[in-house]
Each structure stands twice: as C-alpha cells, then as structure tokens.
Subunit: 346 residues, 2 copies
DNA sequence: CTGAAAGCGCTTACAG
DNA sequence: CTGAAAGCGCTTACAG
C-alpha cells in the first residue's frame, strides 16, 4: 500500500488539511510547519493520489488524444507534437486508436471521461452524426480532420483540397496528362478532399479526370504497392502517380522498381504529408508538406486556450494550408504519344 | 455538469447502491428494477466517472507506457503493439516520453500513480539507480530494454549483442574488413550492446575493431547522415557501414548517395531494428530484425499476467532474440587492397 | 432484493 | 496559521 495523506499528517503531527496546504503551495502555512511536513513527505516519498485529487478538483492534467490508427510516421509525428505541447504545461497524454470503428471511439471516449480535461479527436472516416452523439459534453474538444460542418466544436482541418490541386497542377505543368492517383479509401475525409483537389485541377485545365486512373488504397505502404500492380496492368501506363499519402507513395515506388521502372525517368511519383522519412529515400519524395507535428501541438494548444480562458466561447475553425515540397521523384515529360493526347484533351 | 449516479438514482426512484449494482452487473437486482435503471441510464447517457471508480476499486484499467522518445517508426510500432494488446483487454494506454531525462521520468511516474494499474518503462539511457529509486512500489512494472541487473522487476531485453554480432559476421563473410559503425550514443544500453556485439564478432575472427571506425550517432536519420560525412573524410573509406538502427542507416544512405556512391556496389550499408519502412526503400535495407510491435504487446501481456495471477511473484526476465534480415543493401566484396589487409589482419 | 452508511484520498470553505 | 468537517462520485459490506 502506498502511503496516503493521512500517514503524512500523523507522522508530521498535523492535520491532513495542513499537509494539503503545503502540497498546494498555500501561503497560509507557517514556515516551520511547512518544513516539518516537507521533511516527512520527502522521507516517505509521498506523492498525492492524482485520481483523488482529480475527483475533487475536476481537473486531471491529462488530455485525451484519439487517433484513427497508429501505423506509420504520420501518427507518430502527431503524437510527438502533442506530447511536446502537453509536457510544456505539465500535462500528459492519454492515447488511443479507434481503427475507425465507432464502437472503439465510443469506448475510448467513455474511458476518457473523468480522466482527461479535454479531448483531441482525429477521425477522418467516421461520419459526423455518430461522432457528434458520442462526444462528451462539458469538455473542451478539438476535432482534427473530422468530417463535420458542426460549428459547435473547435476544428482543425488540413487543406487537402488545395494541396492536391497544387500538386496536380505541378504535375500538369511538368507535362503529365495521364496521372494516376492512389486514394486513401472511400468515406475518408482526407482522401476525399485530396481527390476533389486532383479532379478540380484536371478539370480547371480542361482535362477530364479519368475514373480508370483512380485506384483505391488505404494509406499503408502495402496498399500503395498493390495499387501499382493494378496500375501497371493498364494498357496505357500513366506517366505519373500521385499517392494520397507518402506511405503509399513509398510502397508504389517499390512496386514500380520491381517492375524495372526507373523513377522519375520512366514514371513520376509523388505523395502527400511530407513525413520525415520522405526526404531520405531515393529518389527523395516530392510531396505536399503538412506540418504534422505542429498539427498535434496546435490541437493541444487550442485545448489549453479553452481550458484557461473559459470566457471566450466562440469556436475556432482553423484551416491548415499545405505547401508543395518539390524533390526528385517527379520529372518533366517532354513528348506525349498521340494516343494520350486524344484521350486527355477535353 | 455531467450527470452523476445520484441523478440516475433519483430519476429512477432507487438508491445509488442499486444503480451501482446494475452498473456492475450484480445479479442481486430484480429484473424489473434493473430495466428501469437501465432505461434511465440510456436516456441520460450516463456513464460512471472512472476516476471515482478507480479511487475506490483501486483499478484504473489503464497501463502507463513511458518511452524515451517519440521520433520515428520504432516507437510508433511499440505503441501500436502495446495499444492493440491493451485494447484486447478493454484497457487503455497512457503514453509519455522521457527524452532520457530523469526529471521527466520522475514526473511521468508520479503522474501515473493512481491513474494506471501497471507501468511499462523503456529507458535504455538512464542508469539503473536513478530509475530504481523512482519506480513506484506496489505496481506491476515491466522494464523494457533498461540497464539493470536488478531482478526485482520483470524485464524484457532485446538481444542487441547477438544481433550485432550476427550482422558483423555476415559482413565479414561477405569479405568486408573495414566496417564502420554508427552508434546510438554513449550510455545508451542498446547502443552499447550492439557495439559489444560488433567488437566481439571482429575479435572472434581475429580482426581488431578499430576505434577510428566507430562513429557516434543518436538513432536519428540526421545523425546517420552526419556520421557519413565524417566517415567519408577518412583517408581509407570503409567498405561497409553498420548503423545501429535503421533510421541512421537511412540517413547514411542519403549522405552516401549525395557523395555519388552507389549502394551496395560501392559501399554496403545495414541497420538494426527492421522498421517497416526498411523493406520499401531502395536498396531494401539489410537489417537485424527486432519484433518491435510484439515487444510492446509482450510487455503489456506480461503486465496483465501480473495483474491477474497475483500469486506468482517470481519475476520473469525475457531475452528477445533477433534475426538477420538479409535484403539488398549489402554486397559481397571480392578484392581487398593490400593496405586494408595490413591494417586489419591481427 | 434494496437502502443507509462508511470509505477511497484528496481539497476547501468555515471556524477558531 | 490550523483543524474538523463536508464533499467529489463511486462501491461494497452490513442490515433489513
């Protein structure tokens, strides 16, 4: 059994109220008393039970972070950014992954009640009704890349549309016309936004985005790898592949190489997110930069804003811009076959 | 304010004891009463406060996971494995990173008291005395890759020595003699074990491991990258570089390429850990396989063993074997310069 | 089968 | 400056 405040009090010959006061730095404690208590605390290595403290003070010094998945560097960077921000305030993180399963989200949210002071939730896949009805009331909540137009919560959303559009325009500028995309799956907000951006860029330039060039992945390396196998089964290969995240781009590159294609001379490849490892692989990966760890930190800091200035109760909706990050995996195309021209010009 | 058990009780016209009983599935509740209470619970969307419950039941259904760092895929795989294991039991994870700082470890450990039922601690860098004196008593604790010969706690340790030795032997078999290593820094258990393994393999085969071929990194890509800049300043380049983790190997490969060297034809490179991305890069990375996510799961499952069968109080010390994972970043060397022979043969 | 009461380990008015 | 007491939201003997 751990020692409790009662043990400290009796050993120090004071009441538990006094021990509590020195613990909480109250100034209405005589210096001598304080020292005596402190001595006992150190001697016993006493530390107050945070659960009891949380129960009465209604603050836990913990923030819940609920992520859809834990695979890959994207989520680990989110966690890292969040953890740094949280540590700066002396807070801690309770991390959970939902696997995009409403039941798991519900379980995690329930678990967090009473244990966290606020919640950061990232759930690009689960639809807003389910989400909203499970969200605990009375707790600051920040929605990260969630599908919701509900303005009742603070939201942070990456500009997937703009980023994908910019990337597509870049590929178009490079002369590419047959651009295959590897998506992150249906019903996934991030994927959908990126797809929308890609299609818009094509259309804006009077090209018809062909559905036959849209392949479904799930944001993992292996799904990018497998998508390429399908892509190469096409009678006319695309000249560029735009994977909707870097992990899939990395998987795609591997598959392409296995088929003897060189990147970018035979085919260009780009990703999205700009995960740290992207700049280290060869060829270095052209991507759409997302400030991943900042995203985690931003969400946490927004939560702290809420926690401190309770007055301001207008919700904030921040839209995070992306930035094209040009490296070596994409290359200018010089000549196009007639066939391609025919197929793509509007 | 969230509703409490009192609200439910009054609305259902029963005592809080009865509500508590239906909450905990006690069988001594009349079916009709149970239904009435359940109806109210659903209507109010009531969920018990886990902090209060934890306080009295002395169990929190949370496990603390304290990691040295949050950079890169290694730690995210540990978290993933741990999270999966924990979710299987309906438990949750409280994650923290220590940055190898004793103060942060202490703060995290203090934070966890009363909030977790057990702790998994990974701290290859902080020495055992500091660690041991901060460890809470009365809580199951599993030490993951910690420097301690204390048998009072359960431990799980990767066979860094064996793995590095095996890798070095492999390089030796390939004909390499000048093998540079990039370590993970001094005072880091994992790095030290791998260094010991490398040196032992060299010595066993009657080669003297040259200190001038040992370069210091810190397990990050950039440190591998920078180490290579130093390595290439050597008057005689090594024919192989053994980075003590994959991230550094990936950084090293990038630096090597920038200097126009081809891998593995000009120089062989290998890593350690076998992080998922390693098989996707080019050339695919030869590494020492560590079952990373399993490690997280193993630690959690060990903790659950403790939690359930309190009787067995002999501590377990598991030593996790590694496995050579041969891919394409290392190549046989056919001829050696006389100079190299002179320098390396014992 | 159900309720009143004690207690988990703390904090904080309220007196003194 | 300090202590006795109430209370945070729950569970669980103990009676009935």
């Amino acid at each position: 059994m751990r020692s409790s405040i009662v043990d400290v009090a009796s050993k120090a010959g004071v009441s538990i109220a006094t021990v509590s006061r020195v613990l909480n730095g109250s100034d209405k404690v005589k210096a001598k008393t304080r020292e005596k208590v402190l001595a006992v605390i150190n001697e016993m290595k006493y530390a107050p039970n945070p659960a009891a403290r949380g129960l009465i003070m209604k603050k836990t010094e913990a923030i819940g972070l609920l992520l859809p998945d834990l695979h890959g560097e994207f989520f680990s960077e989110i966690i890292r950014g969040a953890d740094e921000a949280v540590q700066q305030q002396g807070y801690h993180l309770i991390v959970s992954s939902s696997h995009n399963d409403p039941n798991e989200i519900e379980a995690a949210l329930r678990f967090m009640r009473g244990r966290v002071d606020a919640i950061v939730l990232m759930s690009p896949q689960v639809n807003s009704e389910i989400l909203l009805e499970n969200l605990p009331k009375g707790l600051p909540i920040v929605l990260l890349n969630c599908r919701t137009d509900n303005t009742h919560y603070d939201t942070i959303v990456i500009d997937g549309y703009g980023g994908a559009k910019e990337m597509t325009n870049y590929l178009l500028d490079l002369g590419h016309r047959r651009i295959a995309v590897i998506t992150g799956g249906e019903n996934n907000l991030e994927s959908e936004e990126r797809l929308r951006g890609y299609r818009a860029a094509m259309t804006d330039r009077n090209f018809t985005p062909a559905r036959t060039l849209e392949f479904t992945g799930n944001f993992t390396e292996i799904s990018g790898y497998e998508a390429v196998k399908q892509i190469l089964a096409l009678k006319h290969h695309p000249t560029a592949i735009f994977a909707f995240n870097d992990s899939m781009a990395i998987g795609a590159i591997k598959a392409l190489r296995e088929e003897g294609l060189r990147i970018p001379s035979d085919i260009s490849v780009c990703g999205f997110d700009d995960i740290p490892v992207g700049k280290y692989i060869s060829p270095s990966l052209t991507s759409v930069h997302v400030p991943i760890s900042d995203l985690g930190a931003m969400a946490i800091n927004r939560v702290f804003d809420r926690l401190t200035k309770r007055t301001r109760d207008t919700t904030a909706h921040v839209f995070v811009p992306t930035k094209l990050c040009l490296r070596s995996s994409c290359k200018k195309i010089t000549l196009m076959s007639n066939l391609e021209k025919e197929e793509n010009v509007a």
